[in-house]
């Protein structure tokens, strides 16, 4: 499955990103950055409520497929700029991380 399919199937809002052809391998949930940094796998969907610039740094370095901000968590302006510069895909949903993860597990 690629990110495009994820967006369509789960009706996610796109906050940043243009190319949605990235492949998805799995999913990781967490808000503590160094935890995510070491445990998230390349190509994971990352579910979090952290929409600050540091999340973008982690997404870039850990090579996640995309960030999904759950519970409509806000994305800072700084974070959006950094995400644009680094081609990080950021999506948003009103669902919480549990609901989102459960929905994703039906797809992958």
């Amino acid at each position: 499955m690629d990110v495009k399919e994820l967006i369509e199937k789960l009706d996610l809002k796109v906050l940043c990103g243009e190319d949605f052809s990235k492949n998805i391998n799995g999913c990781y949930c967490g808000d503590l950055l160094s935890w995510v940094m070491s445990r998230a796998q390349e190509g994971d969907i990352w579910l979090t409520v952290m929409g600050n610039i540091n999340s973008i740094g982690v997404a870039v370095l850990a090579d996640v497929a995309c960030i999904v901000l759950t519970e409509n968590a806000a994305l800072d302006a700084d974070a959006l700029n950094r995400a644009k510069q680094n081609d990080v895909i950021i999506l948003q949903t009103e669902k919480n991380s549990y609901q989102m993860a459960a929905a994703i597990s039906q797809l992958i």
Binding site: L32, M37, E42, N52, N54, G57, L61
Partner: protein
């Protein structure tokens, strides 16, 4: 490939830049043709050390030396030093203040992550003088 040396300055308390040096290093290593999983290991380790310089010290400098066999990164700060390195290396130990915890830091996983992703890690630290962390990752 010749030996490549890259230098980065890390600003104090500047979270808007934090992660920039490790991001740049990551891109350079990719461009030099290193294997993606090796690049990822370097990036994660250097990110954690870079963020620590921002949160716990007053910024610092990063110097990396890249050869086909080995990537060496030295991160030096003039911060407060680490009183008990063994304790600081334990998973979950953190002195991060509340304001940075709300940004997602403070799990106490940074130093253990560095250990996990590098082949060699040494910490030289002196109270009131600063901390220098040296990382080595071999390309094999």
């Amino acid at each position: 490939m010749e030996e490549v040396k890259l230098h980065y300055d890390v600003n104090a308390y500047d979270f808007t830049c934090a992660g920039e040096a490790s991001g740049k290093l990551k891109r350079s290593l990719k461009d030099l043709g290193f294997d993606a999983s090796l690049v990822r290991r370097v990036a994660i380790a250097v990110y954690e050390a870079e963020i620590n310089m921002v949160i716990h010290a007053e910024g610092g400098v990063i110097d990396s030396t890249i050869t086909p066999e080995c990537i060496t990164v030295v991160l030096a700060d003039k911060g407060p030093g680490i009183p008990d390195v063994e304790l600081a290396m334990q998973e979950g130990y953190s002195t991060a203040p509340e304001n940075v915890r709300s940004l997602g830091f403070g799990a106490g996983m940074g130093l253990p992550n560095i250990k996990k992703y590098t082949d060699e890690m040494t910490i030289d630290t002196e109270i009131g003088v600063g901390t220098t962390i040296t990382l080595k990752i071999y390309n094999r």
